[in-house]
Symmetry: C2
Subunit: 398 residues, 2 copies
């Protein structure tokens, strides 16, 4: 275990003073740089005024201001927000909304649909819909009922649609949860918006609630504010966390359409939606999130995103010709390389690559035989070049 | 929805400047007072040094220092800590540990045991073990397998033990989750340590993993640091959140014994314990928690706890004689009154009482026909008297 002592911008510093470029923005959170004073000053001020209050019967300015700001950027059909604490709770809330939607209507639909290799969190509901189940073994008997469909490719999309439509005749599926465009934990696997759209269209025809898990993809990483912005068919429910609070503290938001909200807003209390964590809509987290969202919309950050996207493209021209590279892919500021060498998800090669990068002062976390970059938007030109250089030298040793 | 603008010590202030005494410490979190400068200054400083870093392969001083401090106060048999984000994830981790413990040993034990009327959170695993299930209806079909036992009383304990021992012969129960001494969401229901002990002893005989959910009871509220300190038989696993971070930001800890830890620490990766949230062991939350724990151990806070306990006792002498009071109970700084009037959990009387208190500048959240107080340790003598006075006036109108 390496002790990290401080962080600033795109740099992590260990206890010996050695610096590492944070090539994955500390799991896709610190997109505006670590300890960004624009954010931390506002949180420090909020901390002196109102730290925490029950978010039931009460509200507060940070939650109201953040909600208004989120409504401006969320897909047009999203109308209500539900706060919680992390990505797992955000997706659990989405799943609960989908299941209870039909329960409230008196329609028996109890199966969830999800992509193979999707990842949605570590609590029981979130684990259930996660296809990356190599380590879910001890809990599989306890999962909610889930069926999976393959992630579409040019070759498979037609068959997927035919099989899906057949499966939907049973009318027992309540909701479909998906990571739009990029599946993070599956090692940044990318699918086409057009293919996703065709799947979502059929699901909508059958009245299935669609849940976009944008915990990883949200807030600019795919080149647009949300990945769903690039998908014509909008989700009924959308899950946000990670970069939402810019790497300060945990918080999550699950948004939904008016149609979903109305299914719960009734006189019968048993049809209400009951889910509340103690720190729901924590004022400090809301303040960090509002500051982050304002930063995201600045010219500087938007220019940073474009610059990284362009640099990735130029780097790709070089990398894809390397004899040890099987394939490359990019979506926004997310860039991934699959090596020809086969390896286990947690195998020796992965550890060797990790050590190689750390030796060179670069923090990257290869997943199996995939090396990926997801840098903070504030990474400098020279820092990004150093990441590229260390990847090139790694390619020579695998 | 009332807008709360600021908070300080035991006081919440709304947008019109009206003050309310926070009689439940904002759901049992802000025990050291709101915006306590001793805590906020340290968090503000940490925020300038290291906001967040991946807690996998890396560690940091706030997590190390907090872990050491927690080890000093946790029951002697607790040896390892697992960080997460809130009470629901803390109990999910406890449940997962219990189930996987037997999975790893190759023993088929897939049923969880819990108290009737227990509450352990809102995610699927946590909901499953929560007996307060009036609003779990839409999800019951999706729950993990759980059986319930009644909370023991002088009259029922012997029968509970006999029934329990019969039930245990099937050897299919993996774990037992319980709120020790006080069940929070059940309206501060109290049971005797001695009775709980007798149950835990039998469970241990049958090798069942015991999980103390101290999310509500932890950090001084029951008169000792943890409720489990008053129970001779210590739990295998202990869940903490809420007051852990003193009402600043969400975080949770699940601790366990060496026996539990060793069941996962093996060469086979599939037997490892996989559960990780992005903000796990967030440095700001760890800093708040360490400052809080240091405060808890000061003479001033310990004196505050004793003073509140004494004041409750004196108040009880008056209250219990009131003709509208059915019964009263106290555990540490937690004090509850059951009214003779019967009412629904979310009925009209509850709303009337809430409004009565708010009009008088006191924030209390009655649960059904129970009025309870769980004040911050820093509440002043006159503030606490004002809470008592408002309760006495409420008793006259019910």
């Amino acid at each position: 275990m390496l002790g990290i002592k401080s962080a600033s911008g795109a740099i992590l510093v260990d206890e010996d003073g050695k610096e590492y470029i944070d090539g994955i923005a500390s799991w896709y959170t610190a997109m505006y740089g670590h300890c960004n004073p624009i954010i931390t000053k506002r949180v420090a001020k909020q901390m002196e005024q109102l730290d925490q209050v029950v978010f039931s019967g009460f509200t507060h300015e940070p939650a109201v201001a953040l909600s208004e700001a989120l409504m401006e950027v969320l897909p047009y059909n999203q109308e209500k927000l539900f706060f919680s604490d992390n990505g797992s709770t955000a997706t659990e809330i989405g799943i609960k909304m989908a299941l209870q939607y039909f329960f409230n209507k008196g329609e028996e639909r109890t199966v969830m649909l999800a992509f193979e290799e999707g990842f949605h969190g570590d609590t029981f509901g979130a684990m259930s819909v996660s296809g990356l189940s190599a380590y879910n073994g001890p809990f599989e008997k306890h999962f909610i009922q889930v069926e999976r469909i393959p992630v579409p490719t040019e070759e498979t999309i037609d068959k997927i649609l035919i099989d899906l439509e057949k499966r939907l005749q049973k009318k027992d599926i309540a909701g479909f949860i998906y990571e739009p465009l990029v599946q993070g934990a599956a090692a940044m696997k990318i699918h086409k918006a057009e293919h996703l759209c065709r799947i979502l269209r059929i699901l909508k025809l059958y009245g299935i609630i669609t849940i976009a898990d944008e915990v990883m993809t949200g807030f600019g990483k795919t080149g647009t504010c949300f990945a769903s912005d690039q998908v014509t068919v909008k989700p009924d429910i959308l899950c946000l966390s990670k970069a939402l609070t810019a790497g300060l503290v945990p918080m999550a938001v699950t948004s939904c359409t008016k149609k979903i909200y109305d299914a719960f807003y009734q006189d019968e209390i048993v049809k209400g939606f009951f889910h509340g964590h103690t720190y729901t809509a924590n004022p400090l987290a809301c303040t960090a999130a509002l500051a982050a969202l304002e930063l995201l919309r600045t010219k500087e950050i938007q220019a940073g995103i474009k610059r990284i996207m362009n640099d990735h493209q130029k780097f790709d021209e070089i990398v894809k010709k390397h004899p040890n590279v099987a394939s490359t892919r990019q979506q926004g500021i997310i860039y991934a390389i699959d090596l020809k060498t086969k390896t286990d998800r947690y195998g020796t090669l992965r550890d060797q690559l990790f050590s190689h990068f750390m030796d060179q002062g670069v923090f990257l976390r290869p997943l199996g035989n995939t090396i990926y970059i997801l840098p903070p938007y504030v990474i400098s030109e020279s820092q990004l070049q150093k990441v590229y250089t260390s990847i090139l030298s790694a390619l020579d040793i695998v």
